[in-house]
Amino acid sequence: MALEDICGFKNSPLHRKLSPASCFEDTATFLHMNDNSGTLLNFFMPSFLSSAAFTCRSLAKPSLTVRRPFNLSHGTTTLGFIFQGGVIAAADTRASAGGLVACPFVHKISPIHSHLVVTSSGSGADCMLWERILRREIRLYQLRHSRCLSICGTAKLLSFMLHPFKGTDVCVALTLCGWDKELIYVCSDGARLQGDIFSVGSGSPYAYGILDGSLRWSLSNEEAISLAREAVFRATHRDAYSGNHVDLFHITAQGWSLLHHPVNKNCINDL
């Protein structure tokens, strides 16, 4: 985005040829892909999309343009819940690619701004990209309107930005955890759900098992933190694609705080 502005990529013949404008069929979608200053978000859509006359989205074949050396795997356990002391977001830190642990210390929870944190699951690259885009859009909104966009607005913006990519291989499932005790799950399929407790990823059924039994509104901060950590730990124990450490964020009216523990009792990378 910034780099291609500097390189003058917009004026090159390659850009004009691959302009995403031709890939979108209605102006409403096109406008969503513009930020307000008019610069296009240049995503190069796979060629099969523009040529198919009628594609049933659920039967769309995977992109033929890039062959991957291994299967993409969506192994993760992330969770978020609301209680009297604010919002807790927790996640494991293993990035898996097929049967390989690609990285044992990945940050699956990242802050968007001082009072909003997003947990990510799905394809790691897609999540990083879309978090970055979301951060950019929220910051631009803040600069233009001198106030923060609400979490519902953020979720709606993200959902509309992801909508043109429905049916492609983009796989992101983000949970926005915000200061005014709101938790919204947004997924690249288009789902947008607001709730009190969400867990996403291959380890989520195991985490739900622990959370549903013990979660109460009246938990103290310490109890909530240890519940979140235990839920992720149990999921990492059973799920092969989740593991290593547990990242924990606590979001209150004062902002988010990352909870570090130098010796993580629940770390199982010595197995």
């Binding site: 198919a52 009628f54 594609t55 659920s58 288009g190 789902a191």
Partner: protein, 199 residues
């Protein structure tokens, strides 16, 4: 997996929808509302593919409200239903068809109550009673047997409870609660949620 039902009486329409928002095998929410208020006397019930439902229903909702702002009066239920069907039909043969099944229920001050059944192939039918989802296979025969055009609100609610009990007994999936609303001359009224008793 999802279930919608509508029953039209002589001066009201009773509609109900389950409250589950699911993602593969997990119930992500059990208090999810699948009804969208298009205007003071029109409700759109929408089920189908995950993102398509909300996107399409909100699109229709905002367009109906825009019509009212531009013209000063609201669309009738019949007009809203035909507008919705037209949009479904236009998108059907595009690259991004909407896979949604709809029930539109409304009260027109001149024509009275109306229930419109629409599906993802953009068919439209005005019907005295209708249902969507796998649950429809189990409950349409109950509606056929017990429905009469002049049924009272209590009878309609009993008929609805009969359908929900049958789902609870025979449907393989657990649908723990259903939101219920009734539309009549005065507008849209929320009724108590139905939670089938465990057998």
């Amino acid at each position: 997996m999802e279930y919608l039902i509508g029953i039209q009486g002589p001066d009201f329409v009773l509609v109900a929808a389950d409250n589950v928002a699911a993602s593969s095998i997990i119930q992500m929410k059990h208090d999810y509302d699948k009804m969208f208020k298009l205007s003071e006397k029109i409700l759109l019930l929408c089920v189908g593919e995950a993102g398509d439902t909300v996107q399409f229903a909100e699109y229709i909702q905002k367009n109906v409200q825009l019509y009212k702002m531009r013209n000063g009066y609201e669309l009738s239920p019949s007009a809203a239903a035909n507008f919705t069907r037209k949009n479904l039909a236009e998108y059907l043969r595009s690259r991004t068809p909407y896979h949604v099944n709809l029930l539109l229920a409304g009260y027109d001050d001149t024509d009275g109550p109306g229930l419109y059944y629409m599906d993802y192939m953009s068919s439209l039918a005005k019907a005295p009673f209708a249902a969507h989802g796998y649950g429809a296979f189990l409950t349409l025969s109950i509606l056929d047997r017990h429905y009469k055009p002049d049924l009272t609100r209590e009878e309609a609610l009993d008929l609805l409870k009969m359908c929900v009990e049958e789902l609870n007994r025979r449907f393989i999936l657990n649908l723990p609660s259903f939101s219920v609303r009734v539309i009549d001359r005065e507008g849209i009224h929320d009724l108590e949620k139905i939670t089938p008793s465990t057998k």
